[in-house]
Amino acid sequence: MKIIVSVKQVPARDSTLRLNGAGTWLDESDLSYEMNEPDAYALEEALQLKEKLGGEVIVVCAGPARATQSIREALAKGADRAIHVELPGDTVLDALATGRLLAAAIKPESPDFVLTGLQSDDLGNGQTGVVLAELLGYAHATIVMEVEPQGSMVRVKRELEDGWFQNVVVPLPVVLTIQSGIKKLRYATLMGIKKAKAKELKTIPAAELHADAGDQGGMERIYAPSRSKQTQMLSGDAPHVAHELVEKLRFEARVL
């Protein structure tokens, strides 16, 4: 089985986010980055699928040069090789543009499975997998919790809203977006990190894919959200804050 896992690199959780001068994107100069957490779960599912079915796991990532760090991490965890669609600097693409680039890189591989996280922690569009499926002409299933291969088909357990679930049988090749938190993530071993250095990492400049990448999908500006509520911030040492909070809940909000 050929299993592609599409990953993204995003600013590390708990980063302090500053805007660039034009207010069109972040000031990226002081940011540190990590693999998008939902994609780490897709990678884990891909590695477990390979353990079950044999074959290879290929990491595909669209991003600037810095993204190689996350690609190497995926190789160290056990992916066999990688394709890096390299974008210039701080390019921000909309979901369709990203999908077109990734699809152009994935199509020649003719995979059986394409796995990805269900959304990114930066833009949060939650669309890459579904857009990819349409562009590749593959069937898909989203918010997948369990993957049970059945020959030329796969039966997946999908999460619906409000505590409901559904099993769906889908033919291969298939795109699956994987729900976070279901399986435990593995760590890269020292041996894995060492081996990763020798693994194939193919870099394709985005411009060579002729994918009509488009633009930022009309994103005019970004900004800190205005407060919809007046939040009272309490400060001081813990006993003082606790006392003040209880007073306010009892006599101001009158809810205790």
Partner: protein
């Protein structure tokens, strides 16, 4: 000119978020000086279509086909593609449900469009329509211009006040679609629930909810003590339940329960959108978090920036004192 709102039903029951999408559709239509139309898809949906016709729309399209009885991304995409090619709306508006997340971007891609997901507001500005969506789990907002490339919009649950039905019925127009069984690749089985819930968080007056900030399962007694002192139910954000530290039935958010207690204590919860939609209806929200930029503070009435391992025990102590 028209704006098409896609209403969602499953098994003959509305997803209520449909009528919030309808309200967003009205706002977009007003800015474009366009009419609002709506569509209901499914099999045997006549009565739903006439219910929809009581809402403020120009007309309701009823797309009835036996292959639409169960939702599939292939069936829904093919059906709506035909309607959109025919009706040529200026914008298509959906509720941001799990179902829409599953097929909306596919439909937009087929039509060469960008899908603008999870929109929380619509602004008219100098002849442009701006769609507001959240980035970085709510830490930042972005304005996206509605244009020829970005006409597909999904609307976050709770962001718009649902449209109301009024007296009088607007016309229902049957829109026939051509679908073949072999177009539909996925075979859905019947939806199910894992277990009956024994905890009804929806009925709780006070909820103490815990998130990633608690760090380890062994630290849970800190929040359990606070819940006990308050006579509150204990709840959690998704990562805590995924780790198995608390049962899934105590999860609040889009994949868990929706709650609206008198007081909601968010302890070490950053406030990702998926969590906020499950608790933002609470009367009073208290947030305790070490990250001053955590989005939970945008929703909170009272915020404490600090170490929960100091503040929560002090709070428990204070509650015990007042109750003594």
């Amino acid at each position: 000119m028209s704006v098409l709102v896609v209403l969602e039903q499953r098994g003959g029951k509305w997803n209520r978020a449909s009528f919030e999408a309808l309200a967003a559709g009205e706002k977009i239509a007003k800015a474009l000086s366009a009419q609002v139309t709506a569509v209901v898809l499914g099999s045997k949906i006549e009565s739903l279509a006439s219910e929809a016709a009581a809402y403020p729309v120009e007309k309701v399209f009823a797309t009835d086909h036996e292959l639409l009885a169960d939702y599939t991304p292939d069936g829904y995409t093919a059906a709506l593609e035909q309607l959109i090619q025919n009706a040529k709306p200026e914008a298509v508006v959906f509720p941001h449900t799990y179902q829409v997340r599953d097929f909306g971007p596919k439909l937009a891609t087929r039509l060469g469009q960008v899908f603008v997901s999870d929109v929380v507001d619509v602004k008219a500005e100098g002849g442009d329509v701006l769609l507001v969506r959240q980035l970085f789990q709510g830490k930042l907002s972005a304005d996206i211009k509605l244009s020829g490339r970005t006409q597909f919009v999904s609307v976050q649950a709770g962001a718009f006040r649902a449209a109301q039905a009024s007296a009088g019925a607007r016309p229902v127009e049957a829109f026939a679609v051509a679908l073949q069984a072999d177009q539909i690749r996925s075979k859905p089985e019947a939806p199910f629930r894992e277990a009956q819930r024994s905890v009804d968080l929806g009925a709780a007056e006070i909820i103490v909810s815990v998130g990633r900030g608690i760090k380890e399962k062994d630290n849970l007694p800190i929040v359990e003590d606070l819940a006990k002192a308050l006579g509150a139910e204990l709840a959690a954000s998704r990562p805590i339940c995924d780790n198995g530290w608390l049962p899934m039935e105590r999860q609040v958010g889009s994949s868990g329960q929706t709650v609206a207690p008198k007081v909601y204590f968010a302890v070490g919860i950053s406030g990702a959108i998926q969590h906020l939609v499950g608790m933002k209806g609470s009367k009073t929200i208290v947030a305790i978090n070490k990250d001053e930029n955590a989005p939970i503070f945008e929703t909170a009435d009272y915020g404490v920036i600090g170490d929960l391992f100091e503040i929560v025990p002090a709070l428990t102590e204070e509650i015990r004192k007042t109750k003594a």
